[in-house]
Amino acid sequence: MQATLFLEQLLNGLQFGFMLFLMAAGLTLIFGVMGLINLAHGSLYMIGAFACAAVAAATGSFWLGLMASLAAAAAAGALIEVVVIRRLYQRDHLDQVLATFALILILSEATRWLFGSLPLYLDIPPLLQGTVPLPGGSRYQLYRLALIGAGAAVAIGLYLLIARTRMGMRIRAGESDREMIAALGVDIRSLYTIVFALGAALAGFAGAMVGALQSVQIGMGEPVLILAFVVIVIGGIGSIRGALVGALLVGVVDTLGRFLLPALLSTFVSPSAAASTGAALASMLIYVVMALILAIRPQGLFPAGS
């Protein structure tokens, strides 16, 4: 019994980790290529979720909603890049923090304007409803397995895009020497816009997928954003591989911590004290892990350019 519960939590952790990876991949790409700290990445996640919920409610199809979320987030990302972000590449991180902080305020309030303050709900598509049996006799939600699959597919797709295509070659070149690639005749401005829109689309995709598990509401992006930052810092900023390892580590550690710590503590102290202390410690756990990793490896697990 305990073993099947553990397996279930492990899968939950992986699912959470893969969704974090979708966010973190965009963030780390944007930082790696353009050197930009984008606090507004969580807003793109929220835009994706809202677009999916609105279109799914209007058409009755989750899949159309998913398409809409990709399109809406990518379009919003491209627009933001052209209007605002483009002016920030040469600035220091402080200006970037302030400008993208302002973007959060603007995008959250604009979304509230369009959709109202009440949360929207998104149903799991019929194809992915139901459960599948796990070894040990318990059952697991099919949709969460699908999220793991989608996350893994995106990870492979991103790897192929960056390692095997001309586009990916330009992105890697932009990361290592932007003057040189511009001198070779690559249009660096539109490359930046494309990278930003790609990161935005990944965030929007994550928002739409997670939106079917939770409610779709204003401010849903910020907690995920902070975790995605933890992920890219653990993984090494600019490294997609680091983002994947970091995301899975954070997802699994967080989920298992919430499950195991109270149980572990209850062998020492009373059950109620164990529950409250365990919950307090569990929610701090990933930040402790991050601090430990940075204390030992100040550049993260996979420093970019190594």
């Binding site: 923090v97 302030l98 509230r112 902070i226 929610s283 930040y287 601090a291």
Partner: protein, 323 residues
Amino acid sequence: MARETAFNIVLSVLLVAAPVATSLLGEPFYVTLATRIAILALAAVGLNMALGLGGLVSFGHAAFFGLGGYVAGILAVHAFNMEPMFAGIPGTKLMPVIWLVAIVACALLAFVIGAISLRTSGVYFIMITLAFAQMAFYFAISWPAYGGEDGLSFFVRNNFPGIDTLRPLSFLAICYGLLGLSLVFFHRLQHSRFGSALQAARQNETRLAAVGIRPFHVRLAAFVISAAVTGVAGALFADLNRFVSPSMLSWQMSGELIVLIILGGVGRLYGPVAGATLYVLLEFALGGITERWQFFLGLILLGVVLFARGGVIGVFAGRPRHG
């Protein structure tokens, strides 16, 4: 620098005269607004020591702001209920004692956080300080002893010997007093040997190391001092609202403190004061005009960072002579 000095004097006079005048006209609400400005400015002056002088972009100063607040709240609640804290130590309602405890607590926390975080730099430093503040935030949310997610309220504002703190103007005077002290301290720090070393650590740490000063120690000291000042502001903020909650520890709070400094002008003595004044007044004015004030606040902030580099003071007084 003369225009900047003139700007500072005008702003000081306005900040003192406006609440006194409105209070005489029977509009005590503006006194609360001025108190809010003073407290946020004090918190940002603290952050400015690390961020402005040392170039240490701490995205986790809410941890110290919140810790100061919780020190005030916890001590006041224990004193009110007449029950000792751990080891029989009683609570207290005396502001100076509370401030002292807040300073010591924040300095200790900052020593630990700084000792780990300052091993990193740049974006990593921004993110690791954020992570520590998030730790404190989640700890406060899930620790039930002092209100957890709901926060902790206390009914009567704490005391200051010889001053009736329940009168809004008197409490404002206390806040202005501390803000003034912090500004004098900032000025002295900036022009001390230590301040020179700190600014040198920002500009060129190799040179600093070459003259025999270890940048790490200078930065750590600045980080600790900065946290202590922000902690006192947190204690005052708790007293203003008679309430502390985990939202004081949230990452939005850290972001807001950074915004105040950039809005006013980074590394300037009066930057945090000008920034806090503008931010609180904008929040209030826009909130009165439209429900969507956050949208317009965002637009204005964006406008400042894109077009008015150097913040409000930069617009009035030009660029600083050296960065």
